[in-house]
């Protein structure tokens, strides 16, 4: 028994020494790790107290339970030290830097400008309450939303092997500073419902605008220009046809040019868009409509060949013939409406 107590005493002495050494190591670690300094300082105080308590335990050897208590305490201390050693200090430092960078980005936002802009909008709507100003801004946002959809998001899925930081940099470089880029692990892809609805509405509106542009151009050509095409053919009737333009006469050429000249600006101004359909395609489509109308111009709005021939024989210019003979006799349209102000003979006797 005496031997065992002696051995225990020497073991406790050794444990006390080790505890002191580990307390110093922890103290050193605490000094290096500022973020956990408070906690470690607390642990240091605890371990320092533990040394004193170990020394005091010697006095308690007579009780016979002190060894067990000390052993438990040593196990607990070892566990804490193991957890602290396994901490990823480098990872923690990178995470702190990431947070710092995001905070910096928030700080870079020119909140002053935003506040001034809101104040300006509020000042420009002086008689509205705050909630009305908010509704107005939302209304403006809705209309502007035709081209720029607020809150729109784009999800780019990359292979698991792709470097995230590199992908992020590539995205930031591609989309510029006005787009926020977030990188996250792969998960469930959730399309933005609002942006999807906006996109569908936008595409529907653009398609409807394209159809309206098409119909509008067709009507203008049929009502206003079919008679002019017929008249041009009458002007050309006595002339020998040119070999190069055997298939497309002057009337058809006029209708094609006018068709393109009407459809392209109407298409652009109405905001019409058709997938895979550029301005050049629209111009070709306008020319095709013009050609179509030119083939039916004599049925749609025939010009009186006898009257035109008489006008030519009288020495009237082509403009005079159009203004006094062709357009007033054509179907009612924009051109005949505009022509009313210029025509010299309104079809009534003096």
């Amino acid at each position: 028994m005496r031997d065992k107590v002696a051995a225990l005493r020497s073991a406790l002495d050794l444990a006390g020494v080790r505890a002191v050494e580990r307390a110093k190591a922890i103290d050193e670690f605490v000094r290096q790790m500022n973020p956990a300094a408070t906690q470690l300082a607390r642990w240091k105080a605890t371990l320092s107290g533990l040394t004193g308590r170990v020394s005091g335990i010697r006095a308690l050897l007579a009780t016979g339970r002190a060894g067990v208590v000390v052993s438990d305490m040593l196990d607990a201390t070892n566990t804490v030290l193991a957890q602290m050693q396994s901490m990823d200090v480098v990872g923690m430092r990178e995470a702190v830097r990431e947070v710092s960078r995001d905070l910096g980005a928030v700080r870079d936002i020119d909140t002053g400008s935003i506040i001034r802009e809101l104040e300006y909008i509020k000042a420009s709507l002086p008689n509205l309450r705050d909630d009305e100003v908010g509704r107005s801004i939302r209304l403006i946002d809705r209309y502007i939303g035709g081209e720029v959809i607020p809150g729109d998001s784009l999800q780019i899925l990359v292979d698991s092997g792709v470097d995230r930081a590199g992908a992020r940099m590539a995205a930031e470089k591609r989309f510029g500073p006005n787009v926020r880029v977030y990188v996250s692990p792969a998960g469930v892809v959730e399309p933005g419902v609002r942006s999807q609805v906006y996109r569908v509405l936008h595409e529907a509106r653009a398609t409807v605008a394209a159809l309206v542009s098409f119909v509008f151009s067709l009507l203008v050509l049929a009502l206003d220009h079919a008679a002019i095409v017929s008249a041009i053919r009458e002007f050309q009737r006595g002339k020998a046809p040119r070999r190069r333009a055997r298939n497309i006469d002057a009337g058809s050429a006029y209708a094609m040019v006018v068709g393109a000249a009407i459809l392209v600006p109407v298409f652009i101004m109405s905001g019409a868009k058709v997938p895979y359909f550029g301005t050049g395609h629209v111009a070709v489509l306008g020319a095709a409509i013009g050609y179509l109308v030119s083939t039916q111009s004599e049925r749609i709005s025939p010009a009186s060949g006898e009257e035109i021939t008489a006008g030519m024989a009288m020495g009237l210019t082509h403009t005079d013939i159009m203004r006094e003979i062709v357009v007033p006799s054509s179907r009612p349209g924009i051109l005949s409406l505009l022509n009313r102000r210029k025509v010299r003979f309104r079809g009534t006797a003096d």
Partner: protein, 267 residues
């Protein structure tokens, strides 16, 4: 071109614009025109002097209407030369051609009136288009209508409200209103019934008798030709078969078409 216009300008210094003393008003030389492979005119020569009345006739399709339309270039000739008032009509620019057309009156077979305009406005239209003040143009139009016997309320009627003869007389008034140097008549009685024909022929004879305008009249009215024409030109297959004073041509026809017309006149 500049010289042609200069010639036309010089011509306007005389008593009648577009004429020169002793010079023909119109001279057509070797005029040819084909419609596709079909020849309409095959080298026609024609000369019209101031105040002269020339009747052109011939079977259908012999090129009578084409000849008149080529003179004012309503139909472009393939070759040949047309001289009016000293300038070559075939080489005029568009603006110069308009000036020439305003000095030539043209009466069509179907009157070719503007349907939406009254008779008065139809007659005033070429005058106003040529730059005449509206009031003066309408005054001259009334005078022209009076000359063809259409004064009064008839002047305010539209073409569809007029008889065929009245329509043709409005067309004649429209042609004479600008006081042309030369008048071209393209079968003005062909689409009229016999009663209306005399109505129009009387007007034509009155104008011929006035003698102040050279006329080229395409017609099948041979009795009118005998009475009014200074010269008769018979066309056949796009060429001049024979020409001369009407009495001489019918008395001693030299061509087959001349003999046919003589038989027609005798029947």
């Amino acid at each position: 071109m500049g010289s042609s216009l200069h010639g036309l300008a010089l011509a306007t210094t005389g008593a009648r614009p577009g004429t020169r003393p002793g010079m023909p008003v119109l001279k057509v030389e070797m005029l040819a025109k084909r419609y596709g492979k079909t020849p309409a005119l095959a080298g026609i020569d024609l000369e019209v002097r101031p105040g002269e009345t020339v009747i052109v006739t011939g079977p259908s399709g012999c090129g009578k209407s084409t000849l008149l339309r080529c003179i004012v270039r309503l139909v472009e000739p393939d070759s040949g030369r047309i001289t009016f008032g000293g300038c070559d009509v075939t080489s005029l620019s568009y603006a110069e051609l308009l000036q020439v057309r305003r000095r030539i009156g043209f009466v069509f077979q179907h009157s070719n009136l503007i349907a939406r305009l009254s008779a008065l406005d139809n007659v005033a239209l070429p005058l106003i288009a040529a730059g005449a003040p509206p009031d003066a143009a309408r005054e001259r139009a009334r005078a022209a209508l009076d000359r063809v016997g259409l004064a009064g309320p008839t002047a305010h009627r539209r073409p569809r409200e007029l008889s065929g003869g009245e329509r043709q007389r409005v067309a004649i008034a429209r042609a004479i209103a600008p006081n042309p140097v030369l008048m071209l008549w393209d079968e003005p009685t062909a689409s009229l019934d016999p009663i209306l024909v005399s109505e129009v022929v009387d007007v034509m004879e009155d104008l011929v008798r006035a003698g102040d305008t050279a006329m080229v009249i395409v017609t099948h009215e041979m009795r009118f030709a005998l009475r009014a024409a200074d010269r008769l030109v018979l066309l056949d297959h796009g060429a001049v078969a024979e020409q001369g004073a009407p009495a001489d041509v019918f008395a001693n026809p030299m061509s087959e078409v001349g003999r046919k017309y003589r038989r027609l006149l005798e029947s």
